[in-house]
Structures are given as structure tokens and as C-alpha cells.
Symmetry: C2
Subunit: 349 residues, 2 copies
Amino acid sequence: MTLERIARLQLELKPDQVFYVTNLINVRYLTGFTGSNAALLVSDSTAVLATDSRYEVQLAQQVPDLVSVIGRNLPELLLGKLSKAEVLVEGAHLSVDSFNHLTENFAYQFTSVTGIVEKLRSVKDNSEIESIKTACEISTQAYLKVIETIRVGQTEKFVRNELERCMRELGADDIAFASIVASGPNSAIPHHEPTDRQIQSGDLLKIDFGAKINGYHADCTRTSAIGKPADWQVELHAAVTSAQQAGRESLRAGIEFREIETVVDQALTLSGYREYFTHGLGHGVGLAIHEDPFFGRVEDAKIAPNTVITIEPGAYLKDQGGVRVEDTIVVHSKGYENLTNLPYELLEL
Amino acid sequence: MTLERIARLQLELKPDQVFYVTNLINVRYLTGFTGSNAALLVSDSTAVLATDSRYEVQLAQQVPDLVSVIGRNLPELLLGKLSKAEVLVEGAHLSVDSFNHLTENFAYQFTSVTGIVEKLRSVKDNSEIESIKTACEISTQAYLKVIETIRVGQTEKFVRNELERCMRELGADDIAFASIVASGPNSAIPHHEPTDRQIQSGDLLKIDFGAKINGYHADCTRTSAIGKPADWQVELHAAVTSAQQAGRESLRAGIEFREIETVVDQALTLSGYREYFTHGLGHGVGLAIHEDPFFGRVEDAKIAPNTVITIEPGAYLKDQGGVRVEDTIVVHSKGYENLTNLPYELLEL
């Protein structure tokens, strides 16, 4: 599997080029190696992975079929004696200091490139989709279980802990990111960090969370009500939910990202909440929780088949409360599959 | 507190310089703002923080006393109309792409600098030490509680989950990093990711873990035995423990990092395990789990008072097992305070 990914990267290289891969997520994607210190050198016909001695055993287990070297100075190990003239480096990842270190120590032409492996990563193969699907199933099961146990007086942190414990018990390797549990006025904060605030009757409760399996992430948000919701909460929730539905149901391979954004914007404009939607509509999900493609960053671009992406509109009324509804979705040539299959109605907890 | 930190940074700046801070940990250190998107511009007499609209409420709560701007294009918001000639940027953090974006869009002189805020961060004030101390107390309490419940047949992942749940129940805001729970031959892997391997009688069990409080980390490792340890396990454990003790007890402000390394190396050479110690001796701990100063990277440098640092020698016998002993320690002008106060004997679980 992974050597096939290196082969796809090699198709992008000219005979006199090598690609020095330092973004660890890209190294993992291409090789399967998960150590915290590694670099990969790929030419049009070879590939060598370098790491340090802490990872000797792990290297043999995870990457038995790839040439590898072990030592402290990874640039020297991989670039020490090249015959190639041009070294491509990852401009979005490599720091200015690391780039200067390379140009000062090696007499090659270094060219900064961006998005080559990220573009390969943005289209998922079956094994990747299976991992994301499993992560999403664990996430949704955990959510349904935990919302049954939510009571007035529990803190946001308590609910966060319960949800994360439950995802782990259901088999998650880890959580996908720091879960957002935002109650009452805190739900108006799009990226809220859970606090000791106690959940109260009359709150909106926004939970944005996910599990991780084999390095692959799930990303999901639902907003529910504590007790009987007020009219403004029902209206706000309905507006966001129907905008999310409109966006979701427009998904298919070949459609422009911009078209989906327009559909969602129109729905929110119609309901009067457009101005309260203050962030991007969604992003790719895979080995990173946020990865290519991103809504809003890709002019004219169309969604490729087997893209896994979130659709997550929200509306946030300052000091009152906010609603976000988010799914992780695989886009197929005809339509889509929603991997975070949770209820859309405003649940009363 | 935080404005005082900006004042310390301003002392480093010339009148015609501004410092464009993009490393989010440095932004948090200087301002207290914890959002996931921000930049800070500091001149010798002013400071402005920029973030996007998702963080409007959080900004007002966390940073009420600092000038701030909100928008999508942070470089434009902060650098759009400067009268200063030279902009310092963080070369260890800023990517090549971001640096090129700056030089292409703004007609200032951009100078890459490294380690300025990191150096300020490496010496802790009392509030920082208190947070690390609390994180360490939660960590050690959780460890002592969880090792009581460890049984043959539990998996590494199960123990990891129990430990992390316990740290959260004891009040951790979060875990400090992905806990290492490594049993039997897996303990020979310095950075092992917990698996479904079941703990067996005769295993060494190495646990490297920590809690997080107010953004500050704890970092601690102990290795214990499952059942009665074999002679080689007792010997290996004694060798690493006494090397760690020798290093720890040499700590005081003013001593060279290199001297501590020499003490530990000599102890391991004497016991015959030097060649099995394959990683660095330790690192600073604070808002990052690994931060300045690092053992082995600082020629001739001496340890400053109020540095918080780990001492963590290990020895790893491939396919058999490994031992690491690690403490998080505050260095004082006379001696040190060990914040991870756990037993050093080889516990039989």
C-alpha cells in the first residue's frame, strides 16, 4: 500500500530531482512510519527513510520493505552524497531555519514546493476510508451513549472527560482533537475550551469531537438543548441544520467547492443568520484533522471522488448561544456517504 | 503578568525593529491568548495581537488589556502600515512559504531570528512553576492509584486509558502528551505507542506520561516489574536508577548541562549499560512538553535558576526490555526540587 503511494509521488519527479519530505504526516502517509523524528528522500526510482535510534525497532516493524538509515543528523544521512542537482523541499512545512541550514550545508539547488503530497492525500483509498468510517462510528456511538447521561450541574469538563473515555472504551486509539464542549453562552464561542461551567436548564450544548483510528480522524458536531428549548434556540438550530442539509445534499464529485458554499450561504441568508456564520464551511479530514481540501481556499476547484470532507456551518449569537452542525462525509461520483450518522433534530437532554 | 513578559521582550528590540511573533506557544506565553490562530506584533513601545472572528469572545476574556485586531488576513492586519524598517520573524517556526509570502507582500526588511522568546520561556516565574507543580502532583497521584489496579491480562491501551482517565478525574485540564505504556519487549522501544499487547508476568512495564494544567506540562517515567523480577531486570533497573540519581543530585543553577551528562554517562559506563542509552538526557518543560533548554544542544551552557527540566536516562535491551527513569525538576540556585516525587525502587505489580 505505502510503496504504491511512493510510486505515485515518483511520477511527479523529474530524473534530476529528489524530494526531501520532512512533514511527518506526509512521511507517515507515504511509508507507514509513525515515529516523531523522520525524513524521507524520494527520487524517481528510489526512496530512503531516515530516523534516529529510538525508533530502530519500530522502523523494522512498520517499514520492513523500505531502505532506511538510522542516525542523529537526518539531512546529512539523506543528502550527504547525492548525484542529483535539484532537491525539492516542503515549503509549507520546512522552517526558515531548516531551509537555511540545508542551503548552507549542501551544494544543491533547493526548490520549495507546496501541496504535492497533500494533494495525493486529499483523495482517499479504501483502507483510509475504512479507518475514518470506524473512527466516525466510534464517535457517534460515544455521543449517543454520553448524551443519555448528561444532567444539569455537570461541568463542561466532566462531559468532555466522559465522552473521551467512552470513545476510548469503544476502541478509539486516541481522540482526534481537543473536544469542544460548550454550554449556554459558551456555545457562542466557535472554538471553546471546556471549563468548569455547570450545565444549566435552558442551555444550548454544542459538542464538537471525534475519535482517531490508525492515525485517521473523525470530526463531528451536534448541538442539543438542556430541557425545553426557547423559541430563539429552536429557530437558530433549525436555520443551521437546514443550511447544513442543503450543503450536504449538494455534495457530489465534480461540483465546485464554491457552489456548496453558495448553497449554504443562501440558506443562512434566507433565514437571516448569514452574518452569524463566521468561519469556513469545512475541510478535508484524514491523517490530519484539518487537511486539503479546504473550503474557501480553492478558487474554481472541484471536489474529487473519494474526498473526505466536513460540512460544518454554524451561527453564533454573542453572549446567548450558538449552534453548529457538522458531519464527516465521503464524496462519491454520485452523491455522498455521511459517516457521522447522528440525529439532526434538536434533542432535549 | 503577561504584559510584563512583553516588556521583557521589548528590551531586546531596537527602536527601528518590530518582532512579528507567529509561534502560537510564544503568543500564549507573551499574552495569555490560547486561540489556534493568532499573531503578535511587538515594537519597543507597543504590542498588538491579531486573531480571527472565531476568537472574538475569547480574546476579550483572555487579553482585556492588550490592543487587538480581528480579521482573516493576520499579516495584513499587523504589517499593513508600519513605519519601522526591520521586521524580525521567528525562523525556527515560520515556514518557507509564509516567509516568502511576507517578503513578496511587504516592502520591509525581514530578518529571521531564533530563540528570543524561547530563551525568556526557559526561565520560569512562580506562577509557571506552580502550574507545573500541580500538573506533576496530579500525574504522580494518578500513577500511584493506577499501578494498584494493574493486573496480568490488561492491555497496554487499557492501562493508558485508566491512567489518562485518572489524571482527568484528579483535575488535569488535559494530558500532556500521548502516554507511553510499554510492556515486556515493547519496553525496549524508547517511544512506544500503546498496543493491544496484554501485560504478562515477567514483564517490565515502562510508563512515560504527564498531566497538563493551565497549558503547563508534567513529564515523568517509571518502570516497574510484573511479578517477581528476573536478575537482569533488577540489574538493569538499578543501573538506570542510580545513573538518574547521580544526574539529578548534581543539579544546581550554574552547572554546565554537559557536566550533568558526564555524570550520568560515567554511571552508566561503570554499570556497563552506556551503549544502551540511545537518546538525550532531558529537556526543558513548560508551555511545550519539549522546549529549551535541551541537553546535548547547548555547548558550554550553564543551567539558569528557575529552569524546569527533565532528567531521563534509559537503557534498552532489544527484544528483552528497557528501563527509563524520568523526573521533572525545578533547578534552584542551591540544588533543586523534584516535582515528580515517585518511588525509585523497582516496584513489583
